[in-house]
Symmetry: C2
Subunit: 318 residues, 2 copies
DNA sequence: ATTAATAAGTGAAACGTTTCAATGATGTTA
DNA sequence: TAACATCATTGAAACGTTTCACTTATTAAT
């Protein structure tokens, strides 16, 4: 494997000269530098990451840890992060599961963006003591060494609920996702506050786990007990779609008999029938903002963190 | 940052002893080893990847380079690769775009699995000379240093076409994706051979680019010129869905007026109306097999490469 | 002509590991 | 008891870079 020594030998100069030349140090005159660059290029030399990282004590790399590679949700987010990071000369690597553990512990990256629900707050705080900076997504970890970034769930759900109310719905139920999650909590709070603002009370509440199956299950129970509200506001799209499907199979017409709304605006939301009203987050933009925050953390700047706003996508489901 | 020296100091022994102990070298008696492990654990020591990699000249890491994070196609594939890799003590990292370039050039990983259409064969061959092993997906690069793995496009499309023919269709057209791609070529060849086997000729052929839009465009032209075949076999699902949508908007009934088939079995295939007949690849399994191949390449074993078979998903679109 | 300043280049230390080769201590064999 | 294995441990070299501190050559300033 070709290394810096080989370049130096061919160029007839010292290792340090090569290193300086390749790192654009101004002490090497352009004529020499370009000659060395040419040689390096010719023999295909590139500094070995391990050696460079060891010496420089950084890797110019940001790790993004995600729960799994599923879902279109991550797609745009990762693309957004990637664009911004590479624009500033950083390399992005993505990992899941136990790979994440290894990468974190061995300090393969300079900074970490975590969107992995399988990593506990406790582990997170522990890691944050030896490895900074860390940005955690969609969760609040109250620790000085961790920066948490979330979308503005509260505000978006507040506005969605107001829109629902403006359509004349009165008996409005809420379908929770996993209850103690940040997403669910803030969405629910926004929902409740909008209700209160218009002097309404919640008509009923159910608890699912963000999956379509859990939505179906809830709808089945509703039908059995005949406790159908006028409208069900759901904590996310998948549950909403599960609910809609079961309701329709039992002959209910949506939105005439009952309205349903979701959150996230997954691709399916505009394909299912009726098209699901939801909240869209521009995750590409959000990813970029996350990256910007990470970049300034890497430069040890103090940054105030941004909350991404949601956009109401009102379609045909209520 | 805590390093091996710190552990040695606390343990009252040499650096080498710590290193051997932590690497389970049998020359360190268990009693000493466990004492050292305990100390390392207590102070949160873990070997720095950069240093270890530099010395050992490997990183226990496999890089998976993908075109983008979009699409459910990658999801299962990556999960499959990941599961197998971590089971054998390897770490998986994923990258796109320019990040991939950096990671490759700086030799951050021991092995690379490439599924990125933006990397040219030429670049690939160039890289393969200084960086091995490399597995390339869904493409044939005829080079001794590169292992290419593809799904069995030919066979799956052959069987799908036979099924189409068995339903009585005679005037069967083909809708290409990007023409020179491996996927398209072999699918088309399978299609043609099945036709020939049953003494049929291709009725017509169109060229799209694997996107829904290109499918729509093709369908529009078909309607305008009134050249509608009995059946259109498409190189992938997205084009098939684009074609179906436009055809339906113009009043054609699918499958009564015309049949359509896809390939890939994307999620939407079972949601669109009518449900699209397609070919499903178990990409999780395929990912695992890719990883197995990579692992044996890393051990410098000779391996014969596997071709993943597709499963016919016959639904309502023909 | 002397001194000072600048330019171009270099030698060697350091980063944190792993691992070879060596050491001394202990036990075993004849 | 001498010779020899075995065991536990260690010092130091090496991996491929970057970068500090230094040298030598050249130019500028007086």
């Amino acid at each position: 494997m070709v290394n810096i020594k080989d370049v130096a030998k061919i160029a007839g100069c010292s290792i340090s000269t090569v290193s300086y030349a390749l790192n654009d140090d101004k002490r090497i005159p352009e004529v020499t530098a370009s000659r060395i660059r040419k040689i390096a290029d010719d023999i295909g030399y590139l500094p070995l990451a391990a050696a460079r990282n060891l010496k420089k004590r950084n890797s110019n790399t940001v790790l993004v840890a995600i729960s799994d590679f599923g879902g279109p949700v991550y797609h745009e987010l990762l693309d957004g992060i990637h664009q911004e990071l590479t624009k500033h000369g950083y390399t992005m690597i993505v990992s899941t599961g136990s790979s994440t553990d290894n990468l974190l512990k061995e300090r393969m990256a300079d900074g970490t963006i975590i969107s992995d629900i399988n990593i506990s707050n406790q582990t997170l705080i522990q890691i944050s003591k030896i490895l900074k900076p860390i940005i955690i997504l969609d969760r609040k970890v109250h620790d000085t060494d961790i920066v948490d970034m979330t979308i503005d769930n509260y505000d978006a759900m507040y506005r969605l609920t107001e829109d629902v109310i403006s359509k004349g719905y009165q008996k409005i139920a809420y379908c929770h996702g996993v209850k103690k999650t940040h997403d669910n909590e803030y969405r629910f709070k926004g929902f409740l506050d909008a209700l209160k603002k218009h002097d309404l009370n919640i008509s009923d509440e159910y608890v699912g786990n963000f999956t379509k199956q859990s939505g179906s299950k809830i709808a089945k129970k509703l039908i059995k007990t005949n406790q159908i509200p006028e409208m069900i506001v759901c904590s996310n799209d998948e549950m909403a779609i599960g609910i809609m499907e079961v309701l329709q199979e039992s002959g209910y017409n949506i939105p005439n008999d009952i309205g349903v709304s979701g959150f996230d605006d997954i691709e399916l939301a505009s394909y299912c029938i009726p098209k699901l009203s939801s909240v869209r987050i521009n995750r590409f933009e959000w990813g970029r903002k996350i990256a910007v925050t990470m970049l300034s953390l890497l430069k040890k700047h103090k940054t105030d963190v941004h909350k991404e706003q949601g956009e109401l996508k009102i379609r045909d489901s209520y």
